[in-house]
C-alpha cells in the first residue's frame, strides 16, 4: 500500500511539474462550461438539474482522459526511466495502480472544480442531490475507465501521440457501442448474444442510467470491473514487453 502511495505521489506531482496541469484544467472547465451553457441551454431548460452538464462527460472524457493518460508509460519508455522503475523491488501491480491512481485523482480534481455548478442549481431550485452525487461518482468512474484504457495503450509505445490516438480510438468504440446506428449495422449478421454483449459495453448507456438515477449499482459495477480488467491488462502488457 505504501509503495502504491509513493508511485502515486511521484506521478501526481509530475502533473504539476509542468504547466500541463493548469492548461488541462483550464481547457476542461472551458469546454464543459461552453457545452453546458451554450450547446445544452442550461438556463433555458427551466429544470433544476445537472443532466445538461453530465450528458457531455463521455465525449469530453473521450479526448481529455487519453491526454492525461498518454504519458503514464510512453514517457517512461521514451526517457528510459522505465528501466529504473521496473527494476525496483516492487510488484508491477503497484506501479500500474499507482500511476493510474495519479491520473484518476487528477481527473477527480477537475470534476471537483465544477462544484460551483452544483451549488448554482441548488440556489436556483431543488434538484435531486442524491442523483447528482451518484452522477458525479459515475462520471469519475467513467473517467477512470477511459484512463485505465489510456494507460494500457501508453504501455505499448514510447510515442505519446500514438498512445493518445490509440486510446481515443478504443475509447470511441466503448462510447459508440450502445448507439442504434452501430447496433443496427451488426444485428443482421451477428448472433444476438454478440449484439447484446456489444451493447452492454456502452459507456454512454451505463452512464445514462447513473445520471437518470436508475440501476445505478450495476452500472457502477460495470465501470469498476472495466477498470480492474484494464489494469490487469496493463500489467500483462508490461510483462510481455520484457520478453519481446
Amino acid at each position: 500500500m505504501s509503495m502504491i502511495m509513493r508511485v502515486f505521489r511521484r506521478e501526481f506531482a509530475a502533473y504539476f511539474a509542468t504547466p500541463l496541469a493548469a492548461v488541462f484544467l483550464t481547457v476542461f472547465l472551458a469546454i464543459i462550461a461552453g457545452m453546458t451553457f451554450f450547446l445544452a441551454n442550461f438556463f433555458d431548460r427551466g429544470q433544476a438539474d445537472l443532466s445538461a452538464f453530465f450528458m457531455w462527460h463521455p465525449w469530453i472524457f473521450l479526448v481529455l482522459m487519453p491526454a492525461i493518460g498518454m504519458r503514464l508509460w510512453a514517457e517512461e519508455r521514451r526517457s528510459g526511466t522505465i528501466e529504473l522503475l521496473m527494476t525496483l523491488p516492487v510488484s508491477t501491480w503497484y506501479l500500474v495502480i499507482g500511476k493510474w491512481l495519479a491520473g484518476w485523482v487528477f481527473a477527480g480534481l477537475a470534476l471537483l472544480l465544477t462544484m460551483p455548478l452544483w451549488i448554482t442549481v441548488n440556489y436556483l431550485g431543488s434538484p435531486d442531490n442524491g442523483v447528482i452525487l451518484a452522477s458525479y461518482l459515475g462520471s469519475w468512474l467513467m473517467a477512470g475507465s477511459f484512463l485505465a484504457i489510456s494507460a494500457c495503450v501508453s504501455a505499448l509505445t514510447k510515442n505519446q501521440v500514438l498512445a493518445f490516438i490509440g486510446a481515443v480510438v478504443i475509447g470511441f468504440l466503448f462510447v459508440m457501442a450502445g448507439f442504434d446506428l452501430v447496433l443496427s449495422a451488426i444485428q443482421p449478421w451477428a448472433p444476438a448474444i454478440v449484439v447484446e454483449a456489444i451493447s452492454s459495453m456502452s459507456f454512454i448507456a451505463h452512464f445514462q442510467r447513473i445520471t437518470e438515477g436508475v440501476l445505478e449499482v450495476p452500472a457502477l459495477i460495470f465501470f469498476f470491473s472495466l477498470i480492474a480488467f484494464a489494469l490487469w491488462l496493463n500489467v500483462q502488457i508490461l510483462q510481455v514487453r520484457k520478453a519481446a
Binding site: T18, G80, E83, L88, Q239, A243
Partner: protein
Amino acid sequence: MVLVETRALVKRFGSFTAVDGISFSVGSGEVVGFLGPNGAGKSTTMRLIAGFLEPTAGSAHICGHDSHADPVSARLRLGYLPEGAPLYPDMSVGAFLEFVAGMRGLDSARTRERLAEIVESIELGSVWNRRIDALSKGYKRRVGIAQAMVHDPDVLILDEPTDGLDPNQKHEVRELIRSIAANKAIIISTHILEEVEAVCTRAIIIARGRMLADATPAELIAKTPETGPDGMARSGSLRLEDYFREITRTPVEA
C-alpha cells in the same frame, strides 16, 4: 560466496541473438569489468540480470533468487544503474533519491542516514535542491550512481558508471567502488581499459553475445607482448587494449 550467477543466458530479439549463452558467477569482494565492442551485448546481459528483460533461455540469479521468477527478492539486493543513467527530469535530486530509497523499502530514518552518507561520498550536496533536468551530464551520472547505492545492496550492476564524468570524478567513483567492494559483488561495464586495471579484480570480454575471456586484468595483460608494434615498451592498460583488439576483431564464427 556467490552473489551473482548467470546460467547459459540467451536473449534473442526476433531472429537476432544479442546474448548467446553467457555463464559466469561473481562472488563477494569481486569487481568484474564487462568489456566488449559496441553492440556486444553488455547492456543486454545486465538488463537480464536486473530482470528488466526476460531471458529467451537460461537464467540469472542474485543472491540465489532468480531475477525473473522471483524478481522482488532478487531486486531487494540489487543496485542497478541502467545505461545512460535515466532519471526523472522533473524531480529535484533530493526528492528523487528519497523516492528511490522509499521504493527500495528503506524507512525514513534509514533513508536520512544513507542519503547523508551518499551526499558526502558522491558530492551531491551542492545540487540537492536542483531539478534533475538542470544538471550537467556528469552530475546526472552521479545521481544515477547514488540511486543505485542508496540501500547499500549486496550486488551492484553499473552500466558505464564513469561515462561523462570529468577525470577527478572518474577517480572519485573508482575510489568509491573500491572502498565499498569488500563484501559486495560489483559488475561494471566500461570502454575505458585503464579503468579495468584500476578497479576490477576480474575482466570479462564479450563480443557478439559470447564470452571471449574471463580472467584477472593481470592475466589478460600477460597475454600480449611487452613491446608494441613500434618497439616501445607498453603500459598495462595499453597491452590490455592490444589484447582486446586482437580477440574482438577476429570473427567469432571463424
